[in-house]
Symmetry: C2
Subunit: 375 residues, 2 copies
């Protein structure tokens, strides 16, 4: 398969350093992808997103199909042009948000029928329609349509769900139109059950995808169980293709997952928490709402190159958060995305240098010794 | 008085082109000052505000004294440093917002007692305290503490209010600590009554200020009556000092007021309307909520150098507004401030060239022929 390129340049234990090539540019892995739900990484200009070091953003099929509509975005030249993001774009399949956001839904073998959370209108998503929408959006990395198995699930529930996702994965593959620089990722399901995860991974490898995602984690099972599931799932994925852990996560999640061989991540945490007055730093999380910052002339994080840290005091950021100012959301989102990209770069450099174990140790010590607010 | 410099470089009929010199930089007049209510021009980075061409921003004494507090801002190095705006800052006296925002208020000869709209706490503003707060903020242009006479007012009500403001103007002057590059402006009151406006202007000129503001307009009297009041008020102001029309206004207000000899303006309109999906253009107002923009690939305003116009379609801006995205507020605020600065620059250039009458005619024709949405 030559839809998108992947070159694994370094390994350090299970941790991997690589490069994904798409029609819209390169992604250095391990990579964190900011989430641009409705065609915008909230509270950020796209050039500012790129300035943090991000090389790819994520768009949500569910949101974009409902508003402004996939056919409309296609008429307007595709999502890159629509949102002024010239780099690579990954879109999810819509399956996850149908379950979490829509009002009424009915799952059949064919797909999912649901009501829009925006205007109550009825819509259907099938593997074929999801892939078509992602093509209309001009997504560089299209995700197979799947059911994100809820947690907890019994073994029987998890198997029924996983097997449906595998049939949908084949239909997604059949519907996908190959083009150079565009690819399709399959999604491994199977909840926390080893036999199901291995079976799912093998099924997807047999179908053949440009990359392999691990779905159904970060849904309430906790970090320990997530890491435990990765311990047996990641080694079952094809070594020569990128591996994407969906919807993850906290900085410590990212470090632990890279240590287990994951290459790509997305999560709303840095953007959403930024809009709520919360910052992520090497010294741990900082809650700018906390009154202890009201008179603090120090920067949020010493040495961070983002404008929140170079141009303002904690006292000012605290003031903006308390006053509900939009600039608070802009600056803290900017900082959090910068921190996440600094973290990813640190991991890439460590893997290249063969010092990832040292990096992990330092990461945990710094966060534990740091300036932590309870978030 | 040498607190701040003012050089009148050109006149074209009553219209004036000049330059105000402060300790933090120069302001070319006629000038529009974006409003940075609580220490931020909402939804804008300060460097972006400067990038629109703005040379001075306004801060609100009422908001800043309540949160984060004037003494705190002083401890943190003053408002310029706190909000990362190195240019000139003008602060209002707090009087206007005490009347419009606070819950309970009692006006006496001494000043105003009121309850904070934020936490219900009690505060007192007097001329002396208002000036002290503005000094703590390190404001380059301090406004005298006055009562903004409500509209409509009887001649008797207007006179009582104006005479109180004149006594407070003297107390403001007495409380003001002179420093090079810092100045104090008096505020003419007298509602729409010529004799009172002339008397107020003379009283202030006798006290002696660095500049003279026209207050108590744009409070519901309408453009015609506002212009009529300016027709007799502006000529009564000292010719060698800047003239500031407070809280104004729409683009046509600015053009008409410059034609009557006004040098400085502030208004929340471009920023507030930007946050509400409304744009100001040379072709008139545009409401991006309007469904007619949903498929429009054209820029908001052809030739405008702001990012909203150079990087995005009307269709995208419409989408952002409908989706309630923060980026809509960021981009439309940016555009509106850019348009306002383009308008001011156009007026300055026309006055320099002696073609202000032509400018006025073209301004009205373009807006009338343009792409107007009812706002």
């Amino acid at each position: 398969m030559t839809g998108i390129e992947f070159k694994l340049t370094h390994t350090d234990g299970p941790a991997r350093r690589g490069r994904v090539g798409t029609a819209h540019g390169v992604i250095d892995t391990p990579a964190f992808m900011p989430v641009g739900t409705a065609g915008t990484v909230k509270a950020m200009l796209p050039e500012s997103v790129a300035g943090t070091g991000a090389q790819i953003v994520l768009g949500n099929t569910y949101h974009l199909m409902l508003r402004p509509g996939a056919e409309r975005i296609d008429r307007l030249g595709g999502l890159h042009r629509f949102m002024n993001w010239p780099g690579p774009i990954l879109t999810d399949s819509g399956g996850f948000q149908v379950m979490s956001l829509s009002e009424i839904r009915k799952i059949t073998e064919d797909g999912v029928r649901f009501r829009s959370h925006i205007d109550g209108s009825y819509h259907t998503l099938t593997p074929e329609r999801s892939i078509q929408i992602q093509h209309l959006l001009d997504s560089n990395i299209t995700m197979a349509f799947d059911e994100c198995t809820p947690y907890p699930a019994t073994e029987k529930e998890a198997r029924t769900s996983m097997e449906l996702s595998m049939r949908w994965a084949q239909r997604s593959k059949d519907a996908f139109v190959e083009r150079p620089g565009y690819g399709l990722f399959g999604i491994v399901q199977g909840s926390v059950f080893e036999d199901q995860r291995l079976e799912s991974a093998q099924t997807l490898a047999d179908i053949g995808f440009d990359g392999y995602a691990v779905g159904g984690l970060a849904v309430g099972e906790g970090q320990e169980l997530m890491f435990g599931t990765l311990d047996f799932t990641a080694p079952a994925l094809p070594v020569d293709r990128p591996r994407y852990l969906m919807g993850v996560g906290k900085p410590s999640d990212l470090v632990g997952a890279v240590a287990r061989g994951i290459d790509m991540f997305d999560c709303v945490l840095p953007t959403r928490s930024g809009r709520n007055g919360q910052a992520w730093t090497a010294g741990g999380p900082v809650n700018l709402k906390n009154a202890r910052h009201a008179d603090d002339p120090r920067p949020l994080e010493e040495g961070c190159p983002c404008p929140a840290c170079t141009d303002y005091s904690r006292a000012y950021l605290h003031h903006l958060v308390k006053a509900g100012e939009i600039l608070a959301m802009m600056l803290l989102t900017w900082h959090n995305l910068t921190y996440y990209q600094r973290l990813m770069r640190g991991m890439r450099d460590a893997i290249e240098a063969g010092t990832f174990t040292v990096f992990q140790k330092t990461f945990h010590e710094t966060a534990a010794a740091g300036d932590i607010d309870r978030l």
